[in-house]
């Protein structure tokens, strides 16, 4: 299978997933249980994406490493400031500082 076909199929399936409920709205309704579950979707999905990036290196669990510290610094900044760019800036600066000082190396 050509890579072009693979990517087209991946794109079509992604579109179908995104259209799923929007496209069928009115024909069937989400149950109240489902509606309550939605409140937790962004928090749970994003947390699931973030944590492995902070504590897993090359497939192994590693707590003593700059990414976890930089991530926690960023979380603190995000909590206080609610400012996305400031959060990214402080997180990257902490990471670079620790890499430069060779903390954890």
């Amino acid at each position: 299978m050509s890579l072009w076909v693979v990517m087209l199929a991946a794109g079509v399936m992604t579109f179908v997933i995104r259209l799923s409920f929007i496209g069928t709205a009115g024909r069937f309704d989400a149950s109240p249980w489902f509606a309550r579950a939605l409140r937790f979707v962004p928090a749970a999905a994003l947390s699931a994406l973030v944590w492995p990036d902070l504590v897993v290196i090359d497939g192994a669990l590693a707590l003593a490493q700059p990414r976890l510290v930089a991530g926690l610094v960023a979380a603190g900044i995000a909590w206080r400031s609610r400012n996305i760019l400031l959060t990214i800036g402080c997180g990257m600066l902490s990471l670079w500082l620790m890499q430069w000082l060779q903390v954890f190396m």
């Binding site: 299978m1 890579l3 076909v5 693979v6 990517m7 087209l8 199929a9 991946a10 794109g11 992604t14 997933i17 995104r18 259209l19 799923s20 409920f21 929007i22 496209g23 069928t24 709205a25 009115g26 249980w33 489902f34 309550r36 939605l38 409140r39 937790f40 979707v41 962004p42 928090a43 749970a44 999905a45 994003l46 947390s47 699931a48 994406l49 973030v50 944590w51 492995p52 990036d53 902070l54 504590v55 897993v56 497939g59 990414r67 930089a70 991530g71 960023a74 979380a75 995000a78 909590w79 609610r82 400012n83 996305i84 959060t87 990214i88 997180g91 990257m92 990471l95 670079w96 890499q99």
Partner: protein, 232 residues
Amino acid sequence: MSAPTPPRSEFVGGLYAVAPLALGSIPFGLIYGVLAVKAGLSPELAIAVSAIVFAGSAQFMITQLVTAGTPGLLIVVSVMTINLRHALYSADLARKLAHLSPAWKSILAYLLTDEAYAATLARFADPAPAPHRHWHLLGAGLGLWLVWQASSVAGVLLGGRIPAGWSLEFAGTLTFIAIVVPLLRDRAILVAMATAGLVAVAAHAFPYKLAVIAAAAAGIAAGLALDPRGVR
């Protein structure tokens, strides 16, 4: 009662709402472009994937899987798995977009990314009537789309010239942190986040990024169990 916000203002509001997220996605797009070329995608295909799939974390996974020589069918299934969370965004927005034409729904569905959803959460939570707020989502979606295409093209052109030592891919993680932390409003959400994080780390070795789906499901279940508006 004040007049509803006109489409143009909604559209511009969407652009503003997504701007910080779009800015945060630039390093992500650059790195995707660089990695896609390194994985052996032709420059044309690497650029096309940003428009065809248009999903950052899925595109990163694609570069990993192509590098590993994964069979095409498994690549498609993996992309579907990691993008399944978008069905939940779709369900969240369905009722609010129900009045739109199929063309509008298709365009907004195509543009429905993590960033567009996060950027428009506040606008769509506002209970005041806003008949044109789909323009807000269009602005956010289109703003991110343009920045994502431009940055991945730049990444493809840059090729290997960005030093790996800059760890720019970490900016993507930090963007998600900046979005998720302010969501922390009560104990149920905290438990949902902690559970999802723990399961994601414990299951990180699952194939095809299944850990993300398993972790999100576990987090949602834990949150529901502790929901203060819980079992009534």
